[in-house]
Symmetry: C2
Subunit: 593 residues, 2 copies
């Protein structure tokens, strides 16, 4: 039907007759001549309709934006002064011989090059929104990324194996999406939150290296950037150590960034223990583009007169830390107040600070409401430890460690952005040596920090029973620019270890068997040492695209109320369908049709 | 952890020290020496434990089948007389220095090389079943196939775009799997039966060439070889004609068969109109490996004394046809009776036949209960048309065309297999020129033979209103060895045509809008001419593997009762989960826990 893509024509085709198909991006009448910007997925080309060709000109006059055309014409140089070197087709134009309208179009609700559209409009007319060059670019990048991942993993001997979407509900972690069974009255499938158990079973089966780019589902209240269904690059391998797995995976990510967007990530990625990450950045996914770190002060504050600091410092689990902001002396009273409100979101009761006006004038050179409560030697030590210079400002956090970490951690990132301290380099790292468990105050029990199949660190097996809070795991998270893009671990491959972990988690044999019996069985029949990782594809592509929202890299995403504005899913269904599934609506004001 | 795969060692590694990890396939004690066949995904290697190495020998004595081992040893020639050239490692063995038991194993419920296992046992212990070399081979072949498909489509400019799994219920065609929405009380998502509407929307968006290897879902009563979830190679493209799409797709399949299993399929594939396929083979997916075809006799039977034939021949929609079986004269009375019972399954009330004992003796040379009812000139014409030779047998079908086609069509295939007439060549073809609609006796209305988005054939648009039964479509099915492996069509891209089709199908504007409103809207905003196809991946891989069941090429399939014997899905769920989803069980003997 055509000889070329519109966006691919250049001076190479001069004087050739081409047949092009595409959409009318814009029509202009200029000096009696009609110019059409014809668009296809490869770009835009300028079409010229001369009134001398009366039949064609007559058709051209009827043309409106977004009409689909087939045109035949000859490629020629653009007249001098109209050349546009910023686009591939900018040196040429196509003089039309004939035009066929393949399909007309109503006036679209927005222009394809309109910016700042409301997301609701975009999602409702997604088929038009996806015509916009930015969205075309995003989804093509996504394709490129998945092809690069597949090609790397294929070369490394990984085998793509599909695992079930209709599977078993295991109400652990997030909430399951359920699917009522018609054949088995009263029973339900669940959509997988991840293929975790299946990929471990594939290792037990001896596939050795598995991967899958697969959809996962979580029925959670959606935060700004979550979707009910999302895509995971899911990987598992046998007979490799933690370090070998991590090396293989960071090589994959390096290849990916090089192939897809021409970015060279460092080799190897730096590593940070979970403890150090919390200590220095208050976060297990620190953004290393921001050149700020905490300074530990808890030990310094044991005996100071300032009660707020002293009490916290003396208490088990309390922490006092400082965040030194270079040139923070410039901050106005209002800005400091705003930051105080900001950290309150994270539970901080205040935000003490010291401004360093000068280092040469002793206490005279400092400015702070808390100076009078702190001994001079302590202040000196603070300045020494933080390395503060004249013109800097030191913020303080003092509370339970979690509050300090959350509040100062968020403040660190905010100030980094506000004060344009963020490096333009990409900053990946591994966070390692995670604890096995974290204490759940609500349920009053230990919970798995990753998931209950994560292997304890070498030599930490006994701690599972004696001191679970101290047990470290063989888990690793890959973090990029402050975002966790992947997480994984070496798994437990011996049944007795798995049993100990369930005991630490206070999961009874019966419960474990009911939920994970098939995995526990499998571990008894010769499970190999194995481990893996899962990457968030949507997030990675969004970061590469430079967009804040994963919705911009998903063709048909849902809103935060988990609705598809295009198809109106979810929707009411027929009563007959519910009957077949052996369910009824609870709410008698039933919406079923 | 290891230096090589077990199955990859050969004489190239002679005298080298290797570290291997794998499963104990079999242990033999022979002349005081212990031999272990160690297995990994690449194959089996023979390990020798000499009693002189006492420590290692002691470990070896404890080893049982399916233990996971790590061994270090030296590669050496096998002693003469023990060489096995049928396997890659058959010339060598590995003399062990050290053995580590990485994980023991209970005695498995079956041996990895056991055959004729019950499928229930295999599915229940799928992680063991998948260790069996045949299953490893099947799933690796599947990986190879998907990689070959992706690579071809990528080269042809197709873009992999993911479409939603949580989508809208459109109760047309098969039954939907439903997913209750927690956020939207009384509303339900449906799992997609295919991404049909989304891929058309992507064409409207201008992606030009789309593909996806994706899961589809149908909640149907499972026939022998159906699964609740199955995988489709889903493809759509714009601005191409029927012939161009078909050429592109058969090239893909040819590449696939060559790359994955080294089979060269013919180029181009032969084409058969739907009418001709029914006429000659009684099937829209004829198995061309079977060198038998129907002979039309309806016209011959208009005035014969044999009432059964005459009545049918005179009736609208009746058909009399013959199937000539070469050397069918050998068939015993019992075999003919069995075939008579066989065709009864398809509604045939009998199975008349004529045996040709000799062609030289006139009527004397023939043998049949119906001879006396047929004039000699008719019998002559039958013999002439069928080309029957001495020793052949002619079967007759006479009934409504559908019954004749179904019965004689099935008989053709059965006889082909019974009498070993099936060619060993692969026989692909296209079936084209399908009718747009077929009459549904039950609902008393026209139904779409493919789906309601299929474009009518050139010039057949007006027939939609005047004579819907005569309207042909731009649909095409790819058939291989009697199996439909792919089906597609050029779609309707103009809204007014889509409206006419809905009218022919007696779908009201309101109903169409409610179900497909978003597609109808999209067609109004500049939809390009487009078309596509979907292939059944499971079926293609099963055929390549030479297995009868798609369950043998799916890692974790479900039974015919749509259950997973491994995980026990579907399962009962907690009452709390149902409450959150605003549903309750109808059956008060509720199974919820």
């Amino acid at each position: 039907m055509r000889t070329n893509y519109c966006g691919a024509i250049n001076t190479h085709y001069l004087n050739q007759t081409v047949i092009l198909c595409g959409w009318v991006h814009r029509r202009r009448d200029h000096g009696g001549v009609i110019f059409i910007d014809l668009r296809d997925r490869e770009g835009i080309v300028q079409i010229v309709c001369d009134p001398e060709n009366a039949a064609t000109f007559h058709v051209a006059e009827k043309i409106r934006n977004e009409y689909v055309l087939k045109i035949t014409g000859v490629v020629r140089h653009r007249p001098e002064g109209t050349v546009n070197l910023t686009i591939h087709t900018g040196e040429i134009e196509v003089l039309v011989n004939s035009i066929e309208i393949l399909n007309p179009s109503l006036t679209p609700p927005f222009q394809m090059d309109e910016e700042n559209l409301s997301e609701a409009i975009r999602l409702e007319h997604r088929y038009l929104d996806l015509r916009r060059p930015a969205m075309q670019k995003n989804l093509r990048l996504r394709h490129k990324v998945t092809m690069a991942v597949r090609s790397y993993l294929d070369q490394q001997g990984f085998i793509d194996v599909e695992t079930p979407i209709l599977t078993k509900s295991t109400p652990e972690g997030a909430r399951d999406y359920l699917v009522p069974s018609r054949v088995n009255d009263g029973h339900f499938f669940a959509l997988p939150q991840s293929p975790q158990l299946f990929k471990q079973l594939l290792m037990v089966s001896g596939f050795d290296r598995y991967y899958q780019i697969t959809r996962c589902f979580r029925d959670e209240d959606l935060r700004a950037d979550r979707q009910p269904e999302f895509t995971q690059i899911d990987i598992e391998t046998s007979f490799l150590s933690e370090n070998e797995i991590m090396a293989l995976m960071e090589e994959m990510i390096r290849n990916l960034f090089r192939d897809a967007i021409g970015i060279d990530l460092p080799a190897p990625f730096p590593r940070l223990s979970h403890e150090e990450a919390m200590f220095k950045y208050g976060s297990d996914k620190p953004d290393l583009r921001i050149p700020l770190a905490f300074t530990e002060l808890t030990d310094l504050m044991q005996d100071v007169p300032f009660q707020v600091f002293r009490d916290v410092a003396q208490k088990q689990g309390g922490r006092v830390a400082a965040l030194c902001v270079p040139k923070g002396g410039e901050l106005s009273r209002k800005e400091i107040d705003d930051y105080t409100h900001f950290v309150a979101i994270y539970g901080a009761k205040g935000l003490a600070y010291i401004k360093i006006n000068s280092l040469e004038k002793g206490m005279e050179g400092l400015q702070s409401p808390i100076l009078k409560f702190l001994p001079e030697n302590v202040i000196k030590a603070i300045i020494e430890r933080t390395g503060a210079q004249a013109g800097d400002l030191i913020f303080f956090g003092a509370d339970k460690a979690k509050v300090v970490n959350d509040a100062l951690g968020a403040l660190r990132v905010k100030i980094g952005h506000d004060r344009k301290l963020v490096s333009s380099e990409w900053k990946p790292l591994w966070v390692v040596d995670f604890p096995m468990f974290e204490w759940d105050d609500e349920d009053n029990r230990w919970k798995a920090l990753h998931h209950p199949f994560t292997s304890p660190a070498e030599g930490h097996e006994d701690l599972l029973a004696t001191d679970p809070g101290k047990a470290l795991s063989k888990a690793y998270d890959m973090v990029l620019n402050g975002v966790e893009i992947g997480g994984g671990s070496v798994r437990i491959h011996r049944q007795e270890v798995q049993t100990k972990v369930f005991q630490a988690l206070n999961i009874s044999d019966e419960e474990a068997n009911e939920k994970f019996g098939f995995l526990l069985n499998a571990l008894q029949y010769g499970a190999p040492p194995h481990g893996g990782i899962a990457f968030g594809l949507d997030r990675i592509v969004a970061m590469m695209s430079g967009t804040d929202s994963i919705r911009d890299v998903i063709a048909f995403p849902k809103t935060q109320r988990a609705q598809c504005l295009l198809t109106q899913a979810p929707s009411a269904v027929e009563e007959k369908q519910l009957r077949e599934l052996h369910i009824r609506l609870r709410n008698s004001g039933a919406i079923a049709t």
